[in-house]
């Protein structure tokens, strides 16, 4: 028998609702302050840090840049980025969690003094599942896929390809050594997301990085002009 004074409160709210709300408020706040936040997602070892280092070196004369590196533990990425590029970077530890949510992102922004910056990269935890579920509050979401991972990755982890604006296909210099079809890969991304821009690069050799720089300059321009 149920207890007499038990009553039911109807909630009907998504488990992600509080994070989604926090994320959109954060996005709006940063927009008003003119800070462009970029969320970079990928599996471990796809070359997120190397890609960021190359990109930052090509953009740092134009914008004041900051980097927030999220990892379950260690500060190796933050040290590396800061050492090679000279831009401000901090390490966010997620205390065992496999993703960042909007609250953790905002804590990180406060720690890096974001108001002095134009462009902030958030290097999310290397993982293709959870970062896609939790909106971090960024203006641009990027997924990096590297050639050795295979051209069928978008079929296995659909959500992360659905949720991004840009897919960077990295390690193009290793193409001769792997069974990887760029056309097939693009087709698989398109199946998940018709609107995503796809840019193949090699963060190691620099191939394709001019296109990436153009994409960023254009995106930031649009962000600043957009009311």
């Amino acid at each position: 028998m149920a207890e007499k004074n038990v009553r039911t409160i109807v909630v009907n709210r998504s488990a992600y609702a509080d994070n989604d709300l926090e994320a959109s408020l954060l996005r709006k706040k940063l927009k008003e302050e003119g800070v462009f936040l970029v969320n970079v997602m990928s599996s471990p070892g796809s070359g997120k840090t190397t890609t960021l280092v190359r990109l930052i070196n090509l953009l740092k004369d134009k914008y004041r840049i900051g980097v927030m590196e999220a990892d379950i533990d260690s500060d190796i990425d933050a040290l590396k980025v800061s050492e090679v590029t000279g831009v401000k970077s901090i390490q966010l530890h997620t205390s065992g969690m496999c993703h960042l949510d909007a609250g953790m992102t905002f804590d990180g922004l406060k720690a890096i003094d974001y108001k002095d910056l134009d462009l902030i990269f958030l290097e999310n935890v290397g993982n293709l599942v959870c970062p896609a579920e939790f909106d971090a509050g960024a203006h641009l979401d990027i997924t990096i896929l590297s050639v050795p991972e295979g051209d069928d990755k978008p079929l296995k982890y659909p959500l992360i390809y659905q949720k991004c604006n840009l897919v960077i296909i990295n390690k193009m210099d290793t193409l001769p050594y792997f069974t990887f079809s760029l056309e097939k890969c693009k087709e698989n991304i398109r199946m998940r997301n018709e609107n995503a821009t796809i840019i193949p690069i090699s963060a190691k050799t620099g191939e394709g990085s001019d296109k990436l720089v153009d994409y960023f300059i254009k995106s930031i321009q649009e962000f600043r002009e957009e009311k």
Binding site: N5, V6, V11, N12, A15, D18, N19, C130, E133
Partner: protein, 114 residues
């Protein structure tokens, strides 16, 4: 590990509702979990039972999970089918032009409180 993150957000929101409604405690939480939401139910329950120990109103809260079947719609032949059995490709006409109608959400349905 992603179950834990979702559990934290579920508990946080349920606690807010409990607080706003001035309840003594939450006895049961009913959650609708889509079949293709990517949640492992056993793992989710374990995380939930661990995480409520740190809560204010949910120390003894039971978790009831209602699984919502994944259903996909085919734009080509206008049929619907079970997502888990057939995936993205329509079993009736072989088309890839399909989209998920229901089954990817995680919804806090209601709370039983005293």
């Amino acid at each position: 590990m992603h179950e834990l993150g979702i559990v934290f957000h579920v508990i946080k929101q349920a606690e807010e509702v409990a607080e706003a409604n001035k309840v003594q405690k939450v006895c049961k939480l009913t959650l609708e979990v889509g079949q293709v939401s990517g949640i492992e139910l056993d793992y989710f329950r374990e995380c939930f039972d661990w995480a409520i120990k740190k809560s204010k109103f949910m120390q003894e809260c039971k978790l009831e999970i209602i699984v919502i079947e994944g259903i996909t719609y085919c734009r080509t032949c206008k049929e619907t089918y079970k997502t888990v059995e057939h995936g993205r490709i329509c079993p009736f006409c072989g088309s890839k032009d399909t989209y998920l109608v229901v089954g990817d959400k995680v919804i806090i349905k209601d709370l039983e409180v005293i």
